[in-house]
């Protein structure tokens, strides 16, 4: 006789399932006795009475599940056990996280993984600050993905992290690359010598992608959260990020990215840039070139320029870089196709900074540029569901995502808006971004294609050319495959921009004639 014993620690099955499993296990051919029971003292006493108690079973705890199979041979016992396991799997029915180790609290996780030095926190905003503080108390750097954290909590957390010499990335921080690992949303980029501190997620992603495209690589990408450069928070994390990258031997060049910061905060950040021993490229959308240069920084007007300057400062030969210049013959060709009344651009973006960048580029040429994220209240859309003149929409903003998934995850809202814009005869160009990489949709282009084909067909039927301009943000290392995503768009008649900057410029230039 052979007895096979397995103890499943802290495993609970409802009584009905246990009894049914036990009955089936006893019916397996070759099994003399099978017991599936909780490892209580009393049950062990029963096992002893029936001659099945082993030293291993004696050690079982009352929350453990004991499985005992007694069969004529070891082979039979083993085979019966495999069948019992199959029954368990069927009962469990692929519940998620079966093979993951889950820790109920940050304290227990920190105690169980002493080598861990970073916690990513994504819980309801009402409780996020408490969890972040616990992580900091456990000497963990924090990436706080959650939003809806009060500004007071953000300041307190960042001050506490600062005192402890820890990074407090966020709240509302969606992008970071730490030691080569992309956290939350990020792209697969090569390692290199350029460090990024970014207060805008997709802006940081775009710069990292362009650096990769220009042949450079990333050391670290530190996110700060979108409010870090506000008057109240005072850029605590950006300044600490600069210091961290300055202290990092692998980082040769630092890039700073943000939407327009508060004036006093820009001053503080630039003071840190002035003291920094490493070259710093500053891309603050709509930023002040003079102030940056005065601080000894390298001013960049666009994401593309920021990436290019960083790569060159890191030692690349500028002449050998394909800078992907604007395709002027294409611009002329599109201008010729658009009717005079097709005067406007409609930008539908998943990425906030990509929207911002394209909008600022449009504002250089046009006065009537509206958006849900316009700083100028005169041009901030009163009704976000209706476009006016040139309209650039950040569809990942709270205006659109309140209670709904981000368009990088669920594209349905953008599809509906796209079809709405495509019907407008005053629209010449519709610009859209498609974001690849960790955390994004598995096929962002594929889900949009049917709508693109439909819109193109309807425009053709109405006797007008509709220019659809797409920008696929990703690298050759990303999933889904970058080239395949681009090809799908091109096959559907979409014009492809090679960068966020070029996308903004092309859209603007396409409609210049009719403006």
């Amino acid at each position: 006789m052979s007895t096979k014993v397995v103890i499943k620690q802290s495993t609970y099955f409802d009584s009905v399932s246990l009894m049914s499993l036990s009955t089936k296990a006893n019916q397996i051919e070759g099994v003399e006795q099978a017991v599936i029971a909780m490892g209580t003292e009393m049950n062990k006493e029963v096992l002893k009475n029936v001659g099945l108690l082993t030293p291993e079973l004696e050690a079982a705890k009352s929350s453990d599940l004991m499985i005992v199979v007694k069969a004529a041979t070891e082979e039979l016992a083993e085979s019966a056990y495999v069948q019992i396991e199959e029954l368990f799997t069927k009962k469990k029915g692929g519940s998620k996280g079966a093979s993951e180790i889950k820790y109920p609290t940050i304290d227990s996780a920190a105690a169980s993984i002493p080598e861990a030095n970073l916690a990513i926190i994504s819980v309801n905003g009402a409780f996020a600050a408490r969890e972040a503080r616990k992580a900091l108390e456990n000497d963990l750097h924090v990436m706080l993905f959650s939003d809806n954290v009060s500004i007071e909590d953000e300041i307190a957390l960042k001050q506490y992290a600062h005192e402890k010499g820890l990074l407090m990335m966020g709240p509302d921080c969606g992008t970071a690359i730490i030691n080569g690992v992309a956290l939350c949303f990020g792209n697969a980029v090569r390692k290199g010598s350029i460090g990024i501190v970014g207060a805008s997620g997709t802006g940081s992603q775009e710069v990292s992608v362009r650096i990769h495209d220009f042949g450079g690589g990333i050391t670290q990408l530190i996110g700060t959260g979108g409010r870090d450069l506000s008057e109240q928070v005072g850029g605590i994390m950006m300044i600490d990020g600069i210091k961290a990258l300055e202290a990092d031997a692998a980082t040769k060049v630092i890039v700073l990215i943000s939407k327009p910061p508060a004036a006093s905060v820009q001053e503080k950040v630039l003071a840190q840039v002035k003291n920094c021993t490493k070259p710093v490229v500053v891309y603050f959308i709509g930023g002040d070139e003079e102030a940056v240069v005065a601080a000894g920084g390298h001013f960049a007007k666009t994401t593309k320029e920021a990436a290019l300057k960083a790569v060159v400062l890191a030692g690349a030969n500028e002449d050998e870089i394909n800078k992907r210049a604007l395709n002027w013959p294409l611009i002329e060709e599109v201008r010729a196709k658009l009717a005079p009344e097709q005067k406007y651009v409609r930008g539908l973006f998943c990425g906030g900074t990509l929207c911002d960048e394209a909008m600022y580029l449009a504002m250089e040429t046009f006065a009537d540029v509206y958006s849900n994220i316009q700083k100028n209240p005169d041009y901030k859309l009163k009704n976000i569901h209706e476009s006016k003149a040139h309209t650039y929409l950040d569809m990942g903003d709270d205006d659109f995502t309140n209670g709904k998934p981000h368009p990088m995850i669920d594209p349905s809202l953008r599809i509906a808006r796209f079809l709405q814009e495509a019907k407008d005869p005053s629209v010449g160009v519709i610009l859209m971004d498609f974001i690849l990489g960790f955390g994004s949709h598995e096929d962002p282009v594929g889900v949009m294609l049917p709508a693109i084909v439909e819109a193109k067909a309807q425009a053709a039927k109405a006797g007008r050319h509709l220019e659809i301009l797409g920008y696929v943000m990703g690298t050759d290392l990303d999933t889904p495959n970058f080239d395949e995503q681009v090809k799908k768009l091109m096959d559907a008649g979409v014009t492809i921009a090679s960068s966020s900057t070029n996308a903004g410029l092309l859209a603007r230039e396409f409609v210049v004639k009719g403006a």
Partner: protein
């Protein structure tokens, strides 16, 4: 995913309303999810709408919980009228009816009770589920046979001590039942749940000392699993699920027509859990019927 809570244990609702709930998912089943609260170390339960109310339980408007994206270890937060499980499940308590277990008093007129207990005994004999306290004529294994034998032997020993009115020895016998039985809530525990609530009724003829209940609760922390232990703890303070309260009410004052569905509902619980609880009720009630009269508390 937003789900409406239909009803909830009044204490649980009060806890959520007055302070924040902070814990994690302890265990996930098709019809229930247990939550461990880190503030008081107790287990709380989210139950599907096919289940009845119970202590520390919220009944939500879903027929099954298997589609909920919830896993063991997921964080749980509660505040005000919302309980947040994992990253995407929001349970709204705003419209939940508050429920509280109110055990009936031991009746002055014991004839109805005597008749109903006799009927229940017959019913359980005929239709009760085997595998626990009720031994199967063809047990699936030696283990099952031995478990049932030990359960019966120990329940009998407990019953004898109860008949003698000896709380101390009764508690010793009760402890020997804790954790006995293969299920998630071992049969010995279920039996004690039924027994405890009989002795928690007001005006019960044979009182048991507080020490009896304390001893059962204390021992359960070591001798059985957490889920069963919290059920015993609550039962020891007179708090059990709604169907068991209804059955006890029907037993004390209900007609046969009222008793039968209440009995069917309890016997239908779990594998043999309902039968085991019913047998605990029978044991407790029979001992008290034998003692006769209200000898513990003076009648007003």
């Amino acid at each position: 995913m937003r789900i409406q809570a239909l009803s909830g244990d009044a204490d649980f609702c009060k806890k959520l309303a007055s302070s924040s709930f902070h814990g994690f998912v302890h265990s996930v089943f098709e019809r229930t999810i247990n939550l461990k609260c880190l503030d008081d170390n107790e287990l709380y339960t989210i139950a599907c709408n096919k289940l009845d109310n119970g202590p520390n339980t919220l009944v939500i408007d879903l027929p099954s919980l298997s589609g909920m994206e919830v896993a063991e270890g997921d964080p749980v937060y509660g505040k005000g009228d919302e309980l947040i499980v994992g990253s995407g499940v929001f349970i709204c308590m705003r419209q939940a009816t508050k429920w509280e277990a109110h055990l009936p008093s031991y009746p002055c007129d014991i004839d109805v009770l005597r008749e109903n207990v006799a009927f229940m005994k017959q019913y359980v004999d005929a239709k009760g589920k085997t595998g626990g306290m009720k031994m199967s004529s063809r047990p699936a294994s030696l283990f099952e046979r031995e478990t049932s034998r030990m359960l019966n032997e120990r329940a009998e020993a407990l019953s004898i001590e109860l008949a003698k009115g000896n709380s101390e020895s009764a508690s010793e016998q009760a402890v020997r039942l804790v954790g006995l039985g293969p299920g998630l809530t071992p049969s010995g525990d279920d039996f004690l749940v039924g027994l405890c609530i009989v002795y928690k009724m007001q005006n019960i003829p044979c009182c048991l000392s507080c020490r009896f209940f304390e001893k059962v609760v204390e021992s359960s922390r070591e001798l059985t699993n957490e889920i069963s232990s919290i059920t015993l703890k609550k039962a020891a303070s007179g708090k059990v699920r709604e169907s068991l309260v209804d059955l006890l009410r029907c037993l004390t004052q209900g007609s046969r027509e009222e008793l039968l569905p209440a009995l069917e509902k309890v016997v239908g619980i779990g594998s043999s859990s309902g039968t085991d609880m019913a047998l605990g009720l029978i044991c407790g009630l029979e001992r008290n019927l034998e003692a006769g009269g209200n000898v513990c508390l003076p009648k007003l």
